[in-house]
C-alpha cells in the first residue's frame, strides 16, 4: 500500500507541486480541493496524469514567459521547489484542469461561468 501510494504520487519531476520537506504545501483550502479533484479524476480514468501534467507544464512555461521581467514569487515556506509560490502554481493548476475538462466536453465553458457568477453573487460573508 505504501509503495503503491508512492508510485502514484506524481510529486516529482517537471510540473511537480510546491512541497516542503516532502509534504505538499497549500496556502489556501481551495488549492487542496483543486489538487484533490485532479487526483480523483485521474484515478477515475477521466484523464491520465501525464496528459494533465503536459498541459500544466506548458501553461507554467507560458506564465513564466509572460512574467519574465518579474520572477515567479519565491515563498520562503517552499523549500523544495522555490520557483513558484503556491498561489501561482495552483492558479495555473486550476486553469489547466478546467481547460482539460472543457476540451473533453465534460462541461460547457458557459456553465462554469454561470456557476461562478452565482457563487460570486452570494451575500458577502458566505464562506463554506
Amino acid at each position: 500500500m505504501v509503495d503503491k501510494v508512492a508510485d502514484n504520487l506524481a510529486l516529482t519531476g517537471a510540473g511537480a507541486p510546491p512541497m516542503a520537506n516532502g509534504e505538499l504545501v497549500f496556502d489556501a483550502p481551495w488549492q487542496g480541493r483543486v489538487f484533490g479533484m485532479a487526483r480523483v479524476l485521474c484515478e477515475a480514468g477521466v484523464f491520465s496524469w501525464d496528459e494533465f501534467r503536459q498541459r500544466l507544464i506548458s501553461n507554467i512555461a507560458i506564465w513564466e514567459q509572460q512574467h519574465s521581467e518579474q520572477p515567479a514569487v519565491h515563498d520562503e515556506t517552499v523549500h523544495d521547489n522555490p520557483v513558484y509560490s503556491e498561489h501561482v502554481y495552483y492558479e495555473i493548476f486550476l486553469q489547466s484542469l478546467s481547460m482539460l475538462l472543457a476540451n473533453k466536453n465534460l462541461y460547457a465553458e458557459a456553465e462554469l461561468t454561470v456557476r461562478e457568477a452565482e457563487f460570486l453573487a452570494r451575500p458577502h460573508g458566505h464562506d463554506h
Partner: protein, 202 residues
C-alpha cells in the same frame, strides 16, 4: 477556451473569497452535479496525501528497523547516517536521533521553544504540535497530557520527553506489534502512524 493564462488575474492577495477559490468551488460543484466527481472522494485524497505522504518516510524507516536488527542498531546509534539509504527527497535532514520504545520506556517528542520537527521523515507537523499547551504540558505533566490525548500509560512505564532543537530532531522507534512478525517491510510500514513516531500514541 483560451490558452492564455493572463485571462485570469493572478491575484496574490488571496483570501477566503479570492477569485480562484470561487472558481475552484464552482468547478467542483459543477462536476459533482454532472456526476463526474464525488466530494467525499476529494476529501479522501486530500487526507491521504496529508497523512500518508509526509510520515511515510518515517514509517519505512521504522519498518526496516523492525525487519533488520543490524539496521536498527545503526539507526539507534547514528540515525542521520543510517537513513541516507532512503534517499529522502524532503529537503535537508538535520541531525536525527531515533529513540526506542521498550515495554518499560515510552518516548515522546516536543519542541518547547517553537516547532522543530523531523520534517524530512515525518512531513509537516500536526497543528497541535505547535500549540503552546502541548509544548509546555508535555514537559510538565506528560502522563496526564498523553492520557488526555488517548494514550494511557501504566504508572511503571518511564516517560522520556525529548526536546527538539534546530540542531537535533527526534523520532520515536515504536515497539513492533507482536502480531506483525514476519510481515514484509511495506506491510509493516502500514502499521506505523505519524502519532506513534512523535510518541503521542504507542
Amino acid at each position: 477556451m483560451s490558452d492564455n493564462i493572463e485571462k485570469h488575474q493572478l491575484d496574490k492577495h488571496h483570501h477566503h473569497d479570492s477569485p480562484q477559490a470561487t472558481r475552484a468551488e464552482a468547478l467542483e460543484s459543477l462536476l459533482i452535479d454532472k456526476g463526474i466527481l464525488v466530494a467525499t472522494a476529494v476529501d479522501a485524497v486530500i487526507s491521504r496525501y496529508a497523512e500518508r505522504v509526509g510520515p511515510m518516510n518515517g514509517a519505512r524507516i521504522v519498518a526496516r528497523a523492525w525487519s533488520d536488527p543490524d539496521f536498527k542498531q545503526w539507526l539507534l546509534a547514528d540515525a542521520t547516517a543510517a537513513i541516507t539509504q532512503f534517499e529522502l527527497d524532503g529537503g535537508q535532514v538535520e541531525k536525527l536521533v531515533v529513540v526506542e520504545n521498550t515495554p518499560a520506556v515510552h518516548n515522546v517528542v516536543v519542541c518547547t521553544l517553537c516547532s522543530c520537527y523531523p520534517w524530512a521523515v515525518l512531513g509537516l507537523p500536526p497543528a497541535w504540535y505547535k500549540d503552546p499547551a502541548y509544548r509546555s504540558r508535555i514537559v510538565r505533566e506528560p502522563r496526564v497530557l498523553l492520557a488526555e490525548m488517548g494514550l494511557v500509560l501504566a504508572d511503571d512505564v518511564q516517560i522520556n520527553v525529548w526536546d527538539s532543537s534546530a540542531e537535533i530532531r527526534y523520532m520515536v522507534l515504536p515497539q513492533q506489534p507482536p502480531d506483525t512478525l514476519g510481515e514484509s517491510e511495506s506491510e509493516l510500514a502500514e502499521h506505523v502512524s505519524r502519532d506513534v513516531m512523535i510518541g503521542v500514541a504507542r
